[in-house]
Amino acid sequence: MSRRSWVVWLVRGSSAAAALALVAMMLATVVDVAMAHLFRRPIIGTYDLVETMLVVSVFLGIPATFQRNGNIVVDVVDLFASRRVVRFLKRLALALTLGFLLLLLYNMIVPALDALKFGGRKQELGLPLWALWVPILLGVLLSALVVVVALVRPPEAVDGREPPR
């Protein structure tokens, strides 16, 4: 299996986990509201669960967003620049995106280690805060891998116009 298909499978897996987290967020809130309004018994920990699932769904969903060119780009320059220039700018965008993701990853290590060291927990569920850093770090790392794969593609492969957003 090539490196690219490994990354594709990893992204699919993380997207599936993100989708499940979204479902959990929706169902937990619906059940909590129903219990609170019908039986005056809200489910303790729903807030924490929603916050945790939000972290999981956002950060495990981000790699697919990078894979599908889902980030907002203003492409006015395409109207007057030559194809060669646009191709160069797309490469530049990928390189700067990779730089940003690596910068983010590097700077997140210290607060993640702090969370592990100080042992903070979510108030209602008692979930350790360092556990929330796991999907964050994994998601950003996988996004960086996706960008690396896009960067090493042949130049013609980056010629396609981004889908409308």
């Binding site: 769904s57 969903g61 981000i62 980030n71 700067l96 607060p111």
Partner: protein, 435 residues
């Protein structure tokens, strides 16, 4: 170099990078990080960049974003948009230009379950434009009415731009949702008036349709019941104080899921597509919010809002003159910047000046959304126009531009109305939540 000079250089660098087609989130994150480091040192900039993603993604308030996006996706996949168009066209059936009015009305209704203009325009183009072409409507009128109607999605609650504005400006989401409703309805009426004026001047662009029997009309209108249920329960629940925005969004998406499943529309692939699209949109928004927060830290460190307030005081601008200047600046920036980026870049800089001049930040949120709407349909960026062209590639982009131009009058009139009568936006939030 003064901190303000670093701030101005940072804004210049940001605009240059955006122009060079670097993703907006990356531009804001990089400029914010390096600008902050230039003012306050690497150590503090690193702390801000490292902690922002966690702070943003683990906040309960933003959980409303993916849930409302999911509600719109599920509503769209269950065929609600086409039933809305059928209902609206039955209502106005028999009059000249009926389908243009129906396209605007259906867009407004779809905007009430889907918080994104681009998603509204994409969905409604697929439904409205082929039908209008079949009945020999002029392409300029059909694409213009769908492009304009599509913008209503971000003004009529639930609106993603309002949620983002609320986060950046630290305002209440329910108040903003309440403030957007009346202007959204007024803008719908204004767009229909513009369409009627076009039909009056160019009757050949809109053939008279067949009037349907009243029984058929009643059936088509009743076919819009899912929209009434979704909007009534979710947004109505927020207005009535039953639900928080996140609870309303979760219940709305759950209802949309149940309705779609009961109608047999949500097959496994369709459901997966809804979730994939929801995640893509939400993650894109979160990335851009992370970049914007880092950028906002830099803007504050560079003391740009204070400099802008000082400049406005030195120029002795009246509040109205200041607001008009800002609106013109928004319209110019909207020629080059995409809507969400525009809000995230400008609000941290402009809001302190606006508040210092005595304007209500909730009212300003409505103004910002309207100028973003304008940006969605005016060239050269005009995201809705590109989305429509991608759906109907046989219509030249120039025809779409020409068709949309007359509709630009409507948001301008609404801005004038809001400047003259701020209560158009503020009456409902004051009624529901007090001053």
């Amino acid at each position: 170099m003064t901190v303000q000079a670093i701030g101005v250089a940072g804004i210049g660098a940001l605009l240059l990078l955006i122009f060079l087609r670097i993703p907006v989130a990356v531009c804001m994150g990089l400029v914010g990080f390096f600008g902050y480091a230039a003012i306050d040192g690497w150590h503090r900039a690193a702390a801000v960049l490292g902690s922002t993603p966690f702070d943003i993604a683990s906040g309960y308030a933003l959980s409303v974003v993916p849930l409302f996006v999911l509600m719109g996706e599920l509503g769209s996949a269950s065929g609600m948009s086409s039933r809305l168009f059928r209902g609206a066209s039955s209502l106005s059936g028999g009059t000249r230009g009926a389908l243009a009015y129906a396209a605007i009305g259906a867009n407004a209704a779809f905007g009430a379950v889907c918080g994104s203009s681009v998603a509204s325009a994409a969905t409604m183009t697929r439904i409205c434009v082929p039908e209008m072409r079949r009945l020999h409507y002029d392409d300029r009128l059909s694409t213009g009415s769908v492009a304009a109607g599509g913008t209503l999605g971000i003004l009529i609650p639930p609106s993603l731009i309002f949620v983002i504005y609320a986060v950046i400006a630290q305002q209440s989401v329910p108040k903003l949702f309440a403030a957007g409703l009346v202007p959204g309805l007024v803008l719908t009426a204004l767009y229909i008036l513009v369409a009627a004026a076009i039909v009056f001047v160019r009757p050949a662009w809109a053939p008279r349709g067949e009037a349907l029997p009243w029984r058929q009309r009643a059936r088509d209108v009743l076919g819009m019941w899912e929209f009434v249920v979704l909007f009534g329960v979710s947004v109505g629940g927020i207005y009535a104080g039953f639900f928080s925005p996140t609870e309303a969004a979760a219940i709305g998406s759950f209802l949309a899921l149940v309705i779609g499943a009961a109608q047999g529309k949500l097959t496994a692939p369709a459901l997966w597509a809804c979730f994939a699209e929801t995640l893509k949109t939400s993650c894109m928004l979160f990335m851009i919010i992370v970049g914007a927060i880092v950028f906002a830290y830099f803007v504050v460190q560079a003391q740009l809002p204070e400099a802008l307030v000082g400049w406005a005081q030195r120029m002795a601008f009246s509040p109205i003159a200041l607001m008009l200047t800002l609106i013109v600046a928004y319209i110019v920036l909207g020629c080059f910047l995409e809507g969400i980026g525009l809000v995230l870049i400008t609000v941290p800089v402009f809001l302190p000046v606006v508040v210092a001049s005595g304007f209500d930040p909730i009212w300003f949120g409505v103004i910002v959304v309207i100028v973003v709407e304008l940006g969605l349909i005016h060239p050269p960026v005009g995201m809705n126009l590109f989305v429509i062209q991608a759906q109907v590639p046989e219509v030249p982009i120039l025809a779409i531009y020409k068709g949309t131009l007359p509709f630009l009058v409507a948001p301008m009139v609404l801005i004038a109305l809001l400047l003259a009568f701020p209560s158009v936006a503020l009456y409902l939030p004051r009624l529901l939540y007090g001053s």
